[in-house]
Amino acid sequence: MWTDIVMVLLILTNMVVLGTSRLRACIRIVATQGVALGVLPLLIHSIETHILIFSIISIILKGVVFPYMLLRTLRQLNVWREDDPYVGYGMSLLAGPITLAFSYWVSTRLPMPFSIHSPMLIPVAFFTLIVGLFLIVSRKKALTQVLGYLVLENGIYAFGMAIANQQPMLIELGTLLDVFVGVFVMGIAIFHISRQFDHIDTDQLSALRD
């Protein structure tokens, strides 16, 4: 039951991220999502030392370090809103349930070789993954795209949790390190983009000439 509540929290945070234009609120929501996911391994598996350490590392990274870095970038850039995304907020909100239904359908077509802790885990992990992808393609600001990347990673993490007995923790830790470096580099890159061009709208970057 607790796993299901975490899954519902995941769905709700995804919907909020799809529907808000305020970047600061988005960053906080993604951080909440990260913390909720960090608790997940403790709920799914028995509490052992290595799982506990893993859990703490991911909570600190996703709940404290990432939001801190992103909020700092936000302050330096002085950009607070995603003004005019490719897909509007109303349409994004409606895309949410459709995506979830689709991920349910996918999860029924995906035979698992072993039993899964909760029937909601796989579809919700897919849902989070697709929402992340959707954020990356439908938003213009580079910062929201980084958030999309984080949501995408959260989805992969949730998927990994579902099959964690089969998957060594080492791989998960490797993914976390990748994401950490990714966010770090992206923060710096966004800062330089805005220094150079006075905005972080990625659609205008494609019009660059020598």
Binding site: L94, G96, Y104
Partner: protein
Amino acid sequence: MTELILKVIQPLAALLLAPMLLGIINRVKAKFAGRKGQPILQTYYDLWRLFHKGAVYSNTTSWIFRVAPIICFAAIILTLMIVPLAGGNRSVFSFSGDLILAAYFLGLMRFFIVIGALDTGSSFEGMGSSREVHFSALAEPALFIALAAMARQTSSISFSGIFSAVTPHMWAGGCATILLASAAMIIVLVTENARIPVDDPNTHLELTMIHEVMVLDNSGPDFGFILYGAAIKLWIFASILTGILLPINGLPFIISIPLSIISIFIVSIIVGVIESSIARLRLISVPNLLLTAISLAILSLVFALRS
């Protein structure tokens, strides 16, 4: 005999206690703002005063304006007969599909408030009516889909059946459906009862208000009926919310009924907290909020269909 008493508890409790909900919301808001606030029983005094006044009718209005408040009140009383307080066979009328009838009684109430407002011929009230209809057209699908999800989850299409089926066991299996449906219901509750962040019940600013503007021309007992109806409507939505959320229906009625009345008051405190902590949304972003409610309801239905 006990059966009968149990059946009339909900209408009686609502008629007696519903005005207090508005008082509690005001008190919570006053506490947040650091004010002393009006008495919790203020709505009762207001109703007493209004029912002892005469009504003033403008010359441009017709009989529609005069019957509208009475039909609204009748519709809300009939809804009250359908929605039970807690699970068990406790509503006055209960049959398969009564949730649709209840939703349409609420629709009837809204329709008569709207044509009563249009009947005054004031462009100002016309504006309010148009907003009210716009927002409730979006709130209604959310309500229906959330109820459909609960109906599917509990395999029953009456309020009593749904409320009775919510047990700790059901929570363990279908907490996703219940939580998402309740989240949608909270947004519907706030919208239907003209509360912040959708509408501000205290404002009399022409550009922003929705519900208040429609009843500006009503006076005396007519306005009393509308105010009383609004309080009971809040009670009804709060009892639907607590009914689908609380797994207390296995308990004997001596515990479960006081518990649900207390939780209805807790809902009103939560509404007060929401009102004090959130700013009113701009009119153009209200549809986004309602779309969120619809999406949550659809998500809940997806989960209900799966399990």
